[in-house]
């Protein structure tokens, strides 16, 4: 394999791994902050116990998220020096702002939160948690702004052989970034809600700490219901914007080969990239794709054949990741709505609790699918329409990257195993085991 392929694999592996941990940090920080606020306001010990128990799981997850994030910032330099030199004027400043304006606060306060129980008042300690949660999410917002620029580059001019910043406000208020922020941040809350509800369901099924876990479950249910419905509605807006600015991605998402008016969505389709067609198309819903893309059942949707082969994303992966994301997103909303209806009779519905417990990994899968769609669907471009991924890679020896890729797989594999083992262990132990 060449440097390009190895670097792509390495970036894929390290990003996906990193993003197993990030959304839980983003969402759970807010939920723990809510619990701690309840405690600060009421002095009710159950809320303190909740803060401590969920806080402990949060911290284990946080540690892995933090350390794997460092690698990502530096990889732009190590593996994608062509990219860094070409767009650093814009992209670099967003990363630098993220570190200075958000990540510092998050990382300084995490230490204060963990070690400051006896040094700060109840109220001040809760404020620290809110600032932490705010800073984590602000961090994510800057990173998504940077990614949004790769999806839809704005506010630049090509001068001196590189992309130079001309309009900072346009970069910060980029529509694509805003849509991504409004999608990913609530989706992180949704993931955290499932995490809390799933673990609570495990204990409720065993009749352990029923009051504690019912309260936890309900908090997850409220937040999760709002988030799951929001993510679907916002996702629709997002798709319409993609139709406008990344038509090749949209065509690949639905595996639409020919430009079609009244374009349908097929319940089942099997893309056949070689022959530029779908091997199987079953269950057409006429006009639905036109409606989803343009808000009009008879609108024309561009097909893949409009684009030269060298400018099409890998169809199968884009198509599948979109399907997985949408199917799971629908499932999440359905589960939440069912939960709302049976919220007072949870203990009488063990099937639901069991299903919720088994569903813990699904939002992680949905997040990953969403990112595969966003990033693979943008190919062959690293910056859409501006720079190809192949032109972005560093002039380094493939052997170096091969070694680091293997090392990442080994080290991250180990970290992931240990991290999830510890989360699982402490989740099963329950609130009693959280030492004072």
């Amino acid at each position: 394999m060449d440097v390009l392929m190895l670097s792509r694999l390495q970036f894929t592996a390290t990003t996906i791994f990193h993003f197993f941990f990030v959304p839980l940090t983003l969402g759970l920080s807010v939920l723990v902050a809510i619990m701690e606020t309840q405690y600060a306001r009421t002095g009710n010990e159950t809320y303190l116990k909740m803060t401590r128990f969920w806080g402990k799981l949060f911290l284990i997850n946080f540690a892995v998220g933090i350390v794997t994030g460092i690698t990502l910032e530096f990889q732009f330099g190590t593996n994608w020096s062509g990219y860094s030199a070409y767009v650093g004027d814009i992209f670099g400043s967003l990363l630098a702002i993220e570190a200075t304006a958000a990540f510092f606060l998050e990382s300084t306060l995490i230490g204060v939160w963990v070690f400051g129980w006896k040094k700060l008042s109840r109220r001040a300690h809760a404020v620290v948690m809110w600032l932490m949660a705010g800073a984590s999410n602000l961090s994510a917002i800057w990173i998504l702004t940077a990614n949004g620029w790769m999806q839809q580059p704005v506010g630049y001019a090509i001068r001196n052989g590189r992309a130079e910043l001309t309009d900072f406000a346009a970069v910060v208020f980029n529509t694509f970034s805003l849509l991504q922020i409004l999608h990913v941040v609530p989706a992180a809350l949704l993931l955290a809600a499932f995490f809390i509800m799933g673990i609570s369901a495990y204990h409720l099924l065993r009749q352990q700490n029923v009051d504690f876990f019912t309260r936890s479950f309900r908090l997850g249910l409220v937040v999760g219901t709002i988030a799951s419905i929001w993510v679907i509605l916002e996702g629709d807006m997002h798709a319409k914007h993609v139709t406008k600015v990344q038509p090749a991605k949209l065509a690949a998402m639905e595996s639409l080969w020919n430009t079609t008016s009244r374009a349908p969505v097929y319940m089942v389709a099997v893309p056949d990239e070689q022959n530029e067609r779908n091997a199987v198309e079953i269950g057409a819903i006429p006009g639905l794709l036109s409606f989803l893309g343009h808000g009009d059942f008879s609108a024309e949707v561009k097909g893949l054949k409009e684009f030269p082969k060298s400018e099409r994303p890998p169809v199968l992966l884009t198509f599948l990741s979109f399907r997985v994301m949408v199917t799971l997103g629908t499932y999440f909303a359905v589960m939440m709505v069912i939960g709302i209806f049976i919220r007072k009779r949870l203990m009488e519905n063990p099937w639901y609790l069991k299903l919720m417990m088994l569903s813990i990994p699904l939002p992680f899968l949905a997040h990953t699918a969403g990112w595969v769609l966003a990033e693979v669907g943008r190919q062959p471009w690293i910056v859409y329409g501006l720079m190809k991924t192949a032109d972005a890679v560093s002039p380094i020896a493939a052997s170096q990257v091969a070694v680091s890729l293997v090392a990442f797989i080994l080290v991250y594999g180990l970290l992931g195993a240990v991290g999830y083992y510890l989360i699982g262990k402490h989740a099963r132990l329950g609130p009693e085991a959280v030492a004072e």
């Binding site: 933090i66 963990v114 400051g116 080290v411």
Partner: protein, 338 residues
Amino acid sequence: MLLESIWFFLWGLLWAVYFMTDGFDLGIGSLLPFLGKTEEDRRVMVNATGPLWDGNQVWLLSAGGVTFAAFPRVYAVMFSSLYSALMLILFALILRGVAFEFRGKVDGPGWRKLWDACIFIGSFAPALLFGVAFANIFQGIPIDQKGVYQGTLFTLLNPYGLIGGVLFVLLFLVHGALWLSAKTEGELQTRAASAAAKIWPVEVAVAVVFLATSFFTTRLYANYLANPLLFAVILLTVAALFGIRVFLAKKAFFKAWFASALTIVGATFYGVIGLFPNMFPSSMNPAWSLTAHNASSTQLTLKIMLVVVIIFVPIVLAYQAWAYNLFKTKVTLEDLAY
């Protein structure tokens, strides 16, 4: 021209603050197997940096981010040229970070031993490699006209690079031992203080060797000779270095730590001033060097980033100072969190 120069020194400052803050974390981690005789000692050591190391580490990300934002070509060429060294640093820091969090989560001596080993490697390796990398930057890196690196990881392991690595390790060991002396009590404190006193003369000796070798293998002194007033920076650094010994003898450990912090900042600026305006000098041809002027971002980006830095860095310093102050008391067995 002016903006680029301001950014050059801000870039140096961020690295200096990183070494000053995370330096003692790396030092304590490297001292863990030697000073931590019992499990209690080791827990106290880890908790002595516990509330602070994460915030300290962000100075590294900030230094990296600012290199990317203000000098994208330097970022691109430097990080791809130093690929393997940088990857080793990253893996080490990853292990160190999770080890802090993981070591206390399962109760078993084998489990803790494993993560203590990770803390040691994860602290010692970055200390050494940062020194090797910066010394090599001081003397020049074999990059060609296009900024493509013409060497391997082993090219960096030359005598001058290794002296730089050893110097960094020693700076951080003393820095960490002093922090421990200030933060602990009893036998561990005695051991830490005596370690600082024993390592200090070696630190001085290697610093002298480094300063002397720099004269022959680098062009760092050119700026100093052109403007002799700059020698004051070196003198101040040496004064701070001796200040460590004075305060240590008086058992004024926090003051000794401050002197050590000043030494580290001074040592970083010794190199940064000598480099100016070079940021990544080519040893193959000086004309191929990356400088603050030929590798910077646009004036617009530099201006925006300057505003960001002027607003946020003082805020960051303020809340980090608050956090340091909150945790200035001795680490006791009652309030261990790791």
